[in-house]
Symmetry: C2
């Protein structure tokens, strides 16, 4: 059994590879719900949906999020009622949010809602949100707190990140199945997601970091930083302004004590000794997932190393 | 000041005429909310929206409801989550429902929500839902109760109507402004809507029938039945199975004691004495509203008669 801690785009690409080399029924994804947001009164779960759409083969390949060939009639029309257009949710994507919101209003817990969405999309794996309780990632910028989607989408990450907080985390509990998935897994894989705002919120759920630290599973992390840069998203500049080294070593330091094996890109082979000096093994391989074949190859290499 | 009790399509056509001959700021519409329905967790107000779209010049002229050139991406996608496709709400139409639902969940009363929608569509008239409290029209058929939209849309009115009830009416109050609009109007016009399920729910709101009965306004009703038939909708067969005469006289009998003037179509001129025998005046004119000109002509004739 494989348990994968997952953020959005990077995680979804890794999972697209993993399902090619492991039976999906053996995969449990613990999904970041820290960037969930209420838009137009609807509950939107960007990271979870990215993973679902990607595994269903329906994700928009150009953006890495949203659905292929979606239209935008609803958000166009919502402008009439004064809604700003910065959160560009497509019509098909909105259908998912409408359905999710209806179920949540009826009192269905989030993990059951997500399980139903996974079934509706015909996926063979299990996806569990990290918590059924609301946890909201907020960026602390020079002028104060910024809700995560405002930072990501409205401000296009053009903010100096001075801190990050996970509002509500202290009162949250892991969703049913989360701790068992960490305890019973053969391997726990931290996907190549932003360690601060994608994996960070998951580890902020009370009990989760401990469960990972004490899991008997082999724990693996894949660095999202390659040659000092990130394939997608603000991880590199965020690490920098928060005082981390912008490298696979910087990522490994954040995960120190939580992972047994760090996977870094072959472009960073010279960093392997520094990673190993942190008390973990280091696997050097090609981590650029630019095709289905390369996604599968990365997953195969990691599974073989376990 | 003109106060119009309004259902859906017939009322919207009459109002399209009235705004051509009377300053819209002098018109208050009391709208039927008895056919409101929750679809996909969203609050949909079919009759109110028909009136808004019609007055905004945005209504789909082929159906009489919904918006011109709407698309159906969301309802298409919702089928994936198990929703039946019978309620064919367009994407632009859904935007209105999303906005309305958000405001209602935030605790904004329905009459304020509708006032905001009227402003958003740039209308000059006032539209007030009959009540802020939920009143749901139900059809009693041979096999029991049927929610109104199920009867109208899913079953395409192919049900023998044995009774009608307005669930919740006994506990409802008129929305703020409704009683004043009846009391202070120069004229109250019962639009050519279904007297049972469009005007009926409005009159079922406690206090409303009384306010109309005792209003000093000139009270006018336009028969939706012309030569024993109805232009649109199930009014004719509904009147029949409920034991009413399917004619302008049958409609006049339902409104006896509530209206001073009954407007009937010239095709029914022979019925004028029978209408007058009920203790009301009768105005015979062309009531078929097949063009903007004819809509205005009907409104002009009625306004002149007041």
């Amino acid at each position: 059994m494989f348990t994968v801690l997952a953020g959005g785009v990077g995680a979804s690409r890794f999972l697209q590879g993993l399902v090619q080399v492991v039976d999906p029924s053996e995969i449990t994804v613990i999904s970041n719900s820290g960037d969930d947001v209420e838009m137009f009164g609807l509950h939107v779960s960007p990271d979870t949906d990215i993973v679902i759409y990607a595994l269903a083969g329906a994700v928009n390949p150009e953006t890495g999020w949203g659905l292929t060939a979606d239209s935008f009639a609803v958000v166009d029309q919502l402008e009439r009622f004064g809604y700003a257009r910065w959160f560009n949710l497509g019509d098909k994507d909105l259908a998912m949010a409408i359905h999710r919101t209806r179920l949540l209003h009826e009192g269905i817990p989030m993990h059951e809602v997500v399980a139903g969405l996974v079934r509706a999309w015909g996926l063979g794996c299990t996806i569990i949100p990290m918590s059924n309780d609301p946890i909201r990632t907020r960026i602390i910028g020079p002028d104060g707190e910024i809700p995560f989607q405002d930072y990501m989408v409205k401000l296009r990450t053009d903010v100096e990140v001075r801190g990050v907080e996970f509002a509500g985390a202290e009162k949250a509990a892991p969703a049913p199945g989360v701790l068992a998935a960490l305890r019973d897994a053969k391997a726990v894989i931290l996907a190549p997601s932003n360690p601060i705002v994608s994996i960070g919120p998951i580890l902020a759920v009370p009990g989760l970091r401990d469960a990972l630290a004490h899991s008997r599973a082999t724990r693996v992390a894949i660095s999202p930083i390659i040659a000092g840069e990130v394939v997608k998203g603000p991880a590199a500049k965020m690490l920098q302004t928060l005082g981390h080294e912008v490298s696979a070593v910087g990522v490994a330091r954040i995960y120190q004590g939580l992972v047994d094996l760090m996977v870094i890109d072959e472009r960073d082979a010279a960093l392997a000794p520094a990673v190993e000096a942190l008390g973990m093994s280091c696997l050097v391989t090609d981590t650029i997932m630019s095709s289905d074949e390369k996604k599968a190859a990365l997953a195969r290499t990691i599974v073989a190393a376990l």
